[in-house]
């Protein structure tokens, strides 16, 4: 039974690609109105988990219940309705390169509503103002900087006033100031629009700024979850190393044990 306080329930989800396990029996709840940050190193499966929640990828086993409905059992029509009630900010912004910034933001409105064009133009201006890009409405994506692309992507993601917002590495590749700006934007939108947010990142500064709760994944497995404070005080050495970005710990031990020395010595013998 779906919990009315839960926006998303991940129920024992496993995802395999070509026999390789990317996610292993993940269980996770995202509560309504909170900002959940999914942490993990490269290849931990965090982006795949986000794509599964968005519904772009299907799990090998398990199920995900979003806004009270199972993604696996949704009909095409229900999936379309779900997609119009969520917003996704992709790592690169994923703007449509052949359209202006304004047209990018207007696209979901033109596709899914019967609103007249003048109304759409007003909504686009409001959304662009929210992300501070109103003066750049007529620019093409190629003319924007990395941070501006992400902000434009965010304006498009909130065009249809979504209930759920997903962010894939929102601060990756940005300078610290722009990164902080994006974080404030996320918090601002969360507060003003009351949306539930799921953020995938490995940038700890950003994670601590925006998270109500955090989840740590490692090599496709659930490791820990809790509030930022709980995570900071965790006694798990892996959580401790990841949260504080330490050079000593189980993650570095594992890398050392990947046969590097054998590989070098083996090569010398040849």
């Amino acid at each position: 039974m779906p919990d009315p306080k839960t926006a998303i329930q991940v129920l024992g989800v496993t995802k395999e690609f070509d026999g390789r396990v990317i996610l292993d029996a993940i269980r996770l709840d995202v509560f309504l109105g909170e900002t959940l940050v999914i942490l993990g190193g490269s290849g931990s499966g965090k982006s795949t988990l986000l794509r599964l929640m968005v519904g772009n990828v299907k799990p090998t086993s398990g199920d995900i219940v979003c806004l009270g409905k199972s993604l696996g059992q949704m009909t095409d029509k229900e999936l379309t309705a779900y997609h119009t009630s969520i917003g996704v900010l992709f790592q690169s912004g994923a703007l449509f390169n052949s359209m202006t910034v304004a047209d990018n933001v207007a696209l979901p409105l033109r596709q899914h509503t019967d609103l007249p064009e003048p109304t759409i133009e007003i909504i686009v201006k409001i959304k662009l103002e929210q992300v501070g890009l109103r003066m750049h409405a007529d620019k093409m994506p190629a003319m924007l900087s990395g941070g501006m692309k992400k902000r434009a992507g965010l304006a498009r993601a909130i065009a249809l006033d979504p209930k759920l917002l997903f962010y894939d590495e929102p601060s990756a590749g940005l300078d610290p100031v722009t990164s902080a700006e994006i974080d404030h934007l996320i918090m601002d939108l969360n507060r003003k629009l009351g949306v539930t947010s799921v953020v995938v990142t490995h940038e700890m500064d950003s994670a601590f700024r925006i998270a109500d709760r955090m989840v740590l994944l490692d090599r496709g497995k659930f490791i820990a979850s809790g509030t930022p404070e709980e995570m900071k005080q965790s006694s798990d050495p892996l959580v401790h190393q990841f949260i504080f970005g330490l050079t000593e710990g189980p993650l570095t031990e594992r890398r050392k044990a990947d046969g590097y020395e054998d590989d070098l010595l083996g090569a010398r013998e040849i």
Partner: protein, 270 residues
């Protein structure tokens, strides 16, 4: 026996990949056909779809008209120069007009227009689709509940098909004009005589079979470009590979399908 292993293996592998390519395009065309009606007729988002279609028609068709005109004009002129000495030997120089009109309307007009369009439109469609895949645009479309086939493939296939038919007619007329200019300036044929010969030699079915071929060529170019573009993997290198493949595969398939058409027309006396 060992000597034959490699060629047998290569033939088997190539046959399998050709069959999978044709099968994949078949599926894509099936989906496109199903999506065309809703894309252009459904009330919601219809204005956007027609705008999209119009943009593609302009890009693929209108901009290729000068090049198709130049190429077919030159082909008409070349044919006239090639045939004139032989026909003069039989005292039938005026027959140049008859031969050119049939060759251009039945064969060279549509084929040359298609070859120009495969370089002009096909390559750019493949590059555009490939870039959309690489820059997460396709995922972004899906996340906004916008079907990529309906939004990207339908307008390109419909626009290329319609515009190739239109451009072929322009090519036909320019081919005849090329022959006419040579006939008038070098072969001593009067304009009226040339046009009279052209009209009397042409039957309606010459014109219609040419247009039918142009339509099929349009479907081949656009579906191949979309299929190879959407299948891009491996970043910018993959986009380049898809673009090159599109041009090569398109030209080979155009010639092969043209041969099939001619065989069928010959058998049925068309």
């Amino acid at each position: 026996m060992g000597l034959l292993d490699r060629p047998v293996y290569t033939i088997r592998r190539n046959t399998a990949s050709i069959i999978s390519l044709i099968g994949g395009i078949g599926y894509l065309l099936g989906d496109t056909l199903v999506a065309t009606g809703p894309a252009l007729l459904r009330k919601r988002g219809r204005r956007l779809s027609w705008q999209n279609l119009w943009d593609q028609m302009d890009r693929v068709g209108n901009r290729s008209i000068p090049i198709v005109s130049l190429v077919t004009f030159c082909i008409g002129a070349i044919l006239a120069l090639q045939m004139a000495p032989i026909l003069r030997g039989y005292g039938m120089v005026a027959k140049v007009a008859d031969i050119i009109s049939i060759a251009i309307f039945r064969e060279l007009g549509p084929l040359m227009a298609a070859i120009v369009l495969s370089g002009f439109g096909g390559a750019s469609i493949a590059a555009e689709m490939g870039t959309a895949v690489v820059s997460e645009e396709i995922e972004a479309l899906e996340a906004h509940a916008i079907h990529p086939i309906r939004f990207l493939v339908v307008p390109r296939v419909v626009a290329t098909t319609i515009m190739l038919i239109c451009v072929s007619v322009v090519g036909d007329l320019m081919g005849v004009a090329g022959g006419l200019v040579i006939g008038h300036s070098f072969l001593g044929l009067g304009t009226t005589l040339y046009i009279h010969h052209t009209i009397s030699a042409l039957r309606l079915r010459d014109f219609l079979t040419g247009l039918l071929k142009a339509g099929v060529f349009g479907v081949i170019i656009s579906s191949l470009a979309c299929y190879l573009g959407l299948g891009v993997t491996g970043g910018a290198q993959g986009v380049g590979r898809a673009t090159t493949r599109t041009v090569v595969y398109t030209i080979v398939s155009l010639i092969a399908v043209d041969l099939m058409f001619n065989a069928v027309f010959y058998i049925f006396g068309l």
